[in-house]
Every structure is written in structure tokens, then in C-alpha cells.
Symmetry: C2
Subunit: 202 residues, 2 copies
């Protein structure tokens, strides 16, 4: 036998099953929402038995956390990388929005899931909608203020405003066909560059 990773059938199917469950969970949480969804709904989309689920996750909350963590971390790092490598304020804002909207378009199911489950996400993770992501933004903004790239304004308010715009603009961007990634990114960028300029002029 010589498949790609012949690393023991035992481990192989274990990883497979875990992935299968996570994929089904993503779908179910996106379609039904966290509260309405049940472990059985997830298992049913699988050729596994209900008992098997509990070999991989303690309960519904555990699998939900896994689903969220999985992509949230990735997005968070992506955004952070874009922002810290930016060389101008226009890039700082614009590139991050473009990256964010690109993500929304590339993984619509995850977007659906986030929209539908802001309540549970808020309850299980931190307060802000994208939890740690907004904290990152606050930090990056404060660093930019220290360096003089951004006038001294309330970084927490600014981060909140940016996050709110990201979400709501995302909804409207995604519902256009084709998705208006560029238009939305430009809109958000103009909005915040103009706003920051005005605040700096105080």
C-alpha cells in the first residue's frame, strides 16, 4: 500500500471523522443557528452514529467553539498581517477592508454563520463581535497613533466603528451580484480617511 500519508489507518480515520463532523457542524450552525441546532442535526449529515460524535467533542458548545476558532484565527492573522505591513494610512484602512471583504466572499457559509450567531458568539467568546480581532485593531490603532500616522483619537471607539462598518457593509456588499468587494472597500476607506482627517483638524 502506498497512499500519500499512510500514517496508520487508526489516526487517519480519526482525523477524517473529526473533519467530517466539523464540516457538518459548520453547515448546521449556518443554517439553523447555534441555539436551534442539535447534536443530532449535525450527526444526521454524516454517516456516523450519534455516539461517535461524543468521542470527538464533549457537546454542542465544544464543536461550535472549534468551528469558530478554526477560521477566526486565520482571518485574524490575515488582517493583522495586512495592517502591520501597511506603509500608509490609506493602506492600513483600505487593505484591511479589502482583505476582510475578500474573506466574506470566499467563505460565504462562514459569513452566514457569523451573522446568524452573533448572540451566541458574543456569549461564548468575548464581548466584541469578532472578539480578539477587535482588540488587535485597537492595538494597531494605538501603535499608529503613537507613531503619528493617525491623529490622537479614541482607539476603542474607532475600532468599534470600523468593526461595525465591516459587518454591515459586508452584508450589503455580499448581496450584490457580483459581490462588490472593491466598491465596498473604497467606500469604507473614504469614510474613515475623511473621518480621521476631520478629527485630526480639531
Amino acid at each position: 500500500m502506498s497512499t500519500v500519508a499512510a500514517a496508520g489507518k487508526r489516526e487517519q480515520t480519526k482525523a477524517q471523522n473529526r473533519a467530517t463532523i466539523l464540516e457538518a457542524a459548520r453547515e448546521v450552525f449556518a443554517e439553523l443557528g447555534y441555539d436551534a441546532a442539535g447534536v443530532r442535526d449535525i450527526v444526521r449529515r454524516t454517516d456516523l452514529a450519534s455516539g461517535t460524535f461524543y468521542n470527538y467533542f464533549r457537546d454542542k458548545e465544544a464543536v461550535f467553539r472549534a468551528v469558530i476558532d478554526e477560521t477566526a484565527q486565520e482571518v485574524r492573522l490575515r488582517l493583522r498581517a495586512v495592517r502591520t505591513s501597511s506603509r500608509s494610512l490609506e493602506q492600513f484602512v483600505g487593505d484591511a477592508y479589502r482583505a476582510w471583504f475578500d474573506f466574506l466572499v470566499s467563505d460565504r457559509m462562514m459569513f452566514e454563520l457569523m451573522q446568524r450567531n452573533t448572540g451566541p458568539i458574543r456569549a461564548l467568546f468575548g464581548d466584541p463581535i469578532l472578539g480578539a480581532g477587535v482588540d488587535d485593531l485597537v492595538q494597531d490603532l494605538e501603535a499608529a497613533i503613537d507613531q503619528g500616522a493617525v491623529p490622537p483619537l479614541d482607539a476603542r471607539y474607532m475600532a468599534g466603528a470600523m468593526a461595525g462598518v465591516a459587518l454591515e457593509l459586508g452584508v450589503r456588499m455580499a448581496e450584490r451580484t457580483p459581490p462588490d468587494v472593491d466598491g465596498a472597500a473604497r467606500f469604507a476607506t473614504d469614510l474613515f480617511l475623511g473621518g480621521i482627517a476631520r478629527m485630526g483638524a480639531r
Copy 2:
């Protein structure tokens, strides 16, 4: 007998009971969230029997709709009035935000409820977070554009951005003690006036 409104004991207690249920429902939905809440949770905060609930509302969804409608309509009208009576762009934006933040502070439970239940609200009412409220805003913006008070920009995007900022800034405003109504309103106003100015300069 001569109480204030001696309008028949029958009708009197009927109104009383309805109000009692609505009040309890508000609390429960705010604390547990729509999905997690059950009719029994509502009834339990009441000295009524479970059967009585069903004399007033068909089910959980009906009482939830009643709770939301009740205050959403009021807020919607208040905001609309502020906006249409504004005589400058600065007022249009600033007064509306001030009115909004005032509402959040004056009825924190309702705010909690809205935050916790954006998902169900979206599912049961329209798409946008405050449903018809955002549509109002789109209309008012388009009217302002026609009159030349606002440069021609995408009214749907702008309304979405304003709504997103209203929500997320609201969260951060409310968590400061005392609530920073004025600071948040000024922040939002500067942001959008600056942003609109920049878009007009294109």
C-alpha cells in the same frame, strides 16, 4: 367604587396581565436570548399560570414580536422625526445619533435584548438589524442627496455604515460609567461628516 379608570374589572385585569407578560418576556429575552428562552421561563416570573399565557399570545414568537414591535416603532419614529426636522447635515447626523444613544441609555434592557437577539430579529423581521429603521434612513439620505445637502453617494452603503456604527459604538458607549452619550455622538458625527466631505470631493 371610584378608582381612576373604573372601566370594568374584566378589561382592567386583562390589560394588566398582558402588560405583566410583556414585561416578564422582555426580561427573559434579554437575559436568556430568544432561542434559549421558553414560555415557562416567562410565566415563571409571573404569578400567572402557564395556561393563562396562551390566552394572550399564541406562542413564544408572538410575544417576542410584540416586545420588539412595541419599542422598535417608538424608536423608529423618534429618529425619523429628529432627522426630518434637521436643518443642516451636522444636525441630521448628530441629532439622530444623540437620540439613538439616549435611547440606549434610557432602556438598557431593550438594548441588551437587541444585542443578544440580532439573529432571531433578523430571522423574524427584515434583514437589516433594525429592519424598517434602516430603510427609513436610506430614504432620508436619498432625499438629502436630491436636495443637494449630501453629495451623491451610495445611500444603502451609507445607511448600513451608520447603522453598524450606531450598534458597535453603542456597546462601547454604554459600558463606560457614566455612559458617554455626548462623546460617542460627537465621534460618530465627526466620522460621518468627514467621510461625506471626502466622498464629495471625488
